[in-house]
Amino acid sequence: MTTDLSGLSLSENLRSEILLIAGRHRRRRIVRSRVFLGLSAVCFALALIPLFALSWIIIQKGFPVLKLSFFTQMPLQPNLMAPNQVGGVSGAIIGSLALVGYASIFAVPIGVLVGIYVAENENKFAALIRLVSQAMAGAPSILMGLFAFSLVCQRLHFGYSAAAGAFALGVLMLPVVVVATEIAVRNVPSTLREAGLALGAQAHKVSLRIVIPTAAPGILTGAVLAMSRAIGEAAPVLFTIGGSSFITWKLNDQVNALPIAIFNDSRSQWPSQRQEVFGIALVLLIFVFAANLISKVFLSRQQNKTS
């Protein structure tokens, strides 16, 4: 009996010591957890500052600039008699939309088809295209401009033109569309593919009628994101589109673009023109934001479908 009791008291001591250590450990863990939570909250705030500051400054300074004439008129040169006459950027808006439109006409279909090929084939050629696309998607955009300048402007004798700018933007968009399409197609569950094959469908019918329709929202998302990236790029159009004092969207005309308008106006000696820069920036921001919003809608549709 006595030995039993002493044994019990010994384990009682052991228990309280374990509890003591575990308690200390738990308190230390809670402190550490709070420190890290605090750190990540601070970093979160730091990351948000530039994001909101950027949006805020552009909206605050750009919004007053957005008058009807801003969208309907061509730029005017301020002078000493009329230091505030800046006109509008209708030419740049039309030019940018036209450039991205033309670029999409060739980059989206080709990019989608290449992306499907790469996703559906497991050979060395497909692997090579995948590698090149991924590398090109990260290539500096000025290279696209240089390429378009030497090929379209010079070799094909288009000179500065919408065609050259659209070509440069298209080359920029192409790998983005290829990579996005490949991912969208690969995300289609293999069980759907098998279901089609198990119904006696040939492989190409499975691709056309099951895989691609299921991947379509993801493919569209990729196309829209590529367009939103292209509209904001200055480098590819910098030395390919020339610039124009008319509203035009013809392929072999010189055209304007929003990023170039920002660049030119920002170097003006007239405060009114420098002020206008923020209006143009706001228009660009709205385009990009809208494109992202649209792509989110598409993407949530695909997720609904495949989950």
Partner: protein, 274 residues
């Protein structure tokens, strides 16, 4: 030992005048030279439910997928031995893979209706893939197959809504309807109720017992109670010492569960392992 078991079962099948839908002769499947399942020799009787049971890794699903040549897609997969559908080698030149798959339908582990298609479009998708375009024919086939899958009453008024709006059990029955629309001779079911709740499971099991009047059913299940409830014949597979699955015993379900010849079958059906 195995030889005897099989020949006896087959003898009984013959003597009872049962028509054979599919024959498996020494079937083995390997991936990149590694055998996944082997020694599968048995006859699948027409208009009966044949179940394949066994623990994980015993090659049930692998064997099932050999029966409609789904392994064709997997690089490095190789199927040896003979699989006959009504006496014709399914890997031979007399039967194209697409024809085989219209005659041997399949229902998968998880309901996988085509998400971009409506209920109606799903039901007739197999017919459309195979070139049937006539509207009246498609309408008739849709109704008939949805009725056969016990789904018609609940979807009749909403044939044109997306299949993803159905519950899991309804989706699985839609997948059964989709397979039945092609009027297959054999229906392969790969653990068709493993993603469903007990009530949906019960409905599928009830469905199978009526369906076998028009189609031969081969079902893979890890649920022994399910196998004993619904199947007429039963193949028991087990993973061998080299980690390859093999057929241990094939017999009527009644014999497999009540008087198996191999002691391992008895151990498994009594729940001693697996």
């Amino acid at each position: 030992m195995e030889e005897k078991v099989l020949s006896k079962a087959q003898l009984e099948m013959k003597s009872s005048g049962v028509k054979v839908a599919m024959q498996l002769q020494d079937v083995a499947v390997s991936f990149n030279g590694r055998t996944a399942v082997r020694d599968a020799t048995f006859n699948v009787a027409a208009n009966r439910v044949t179940s394949m049971i066994g623990p994980s890794g015993s090659g049930k699903t692998t064997l099932l997928r050999a029966l409609n040549r789904l392994h064709d897609l997997t690089p490095g997969a190789k199927v040896t031995g003979k699989i006959l559908l009504e006496g014709v080698d399914i890997y031979g030149p007399d039967l194209s893979v697409t024809e085989l798959r219209t005659r041997v339908g399949m229902v998968f582990q998880r309901p996988n209706p085509f998400p971009t298609m409506t209920i109606y479009e799903n039901a007739v998708s197999g017919l459309r893939f195979n070139g049937v375009k006539k509207k009246s024919l498609l309408d008739e086939a849709a109704e008939e197959s949805l009725r056969a899958a016990a789904l018609w009453e609940s979807v009749e008024s909403r044939l044109n809504v997306a299949a993803s709006n159905l519950s899991g059990g309804e989706q699985q029955r839609l997948c059964i309807a989709r397979a039945l629309a092609l009027k297959p001779e054999v229906l392969l079911m790969d653990e068709p109720t493993s993603a469903l709740d007990p009530i949906a499971t019960l409905r599928i099991e009830e469905l199978m017992s009526t369906l076998k009047q028009q189609v031969t059913i081969i079902i893979v299940t890890h649920n022994m109670q399910q196998a004993s409830r619904i199947s007429d014949d039963c193949a028991f597979l087990l993973m061998g010492e080299d980690r390859a699955g093999e057929l241990i015993e094939f017999n009527t379900t009644e014999k497999i569960f009540n008087s198996p010849i191999d002691s391992r079958t008895l151990d498994y059906t009594l729940g001693r392992f697996g």
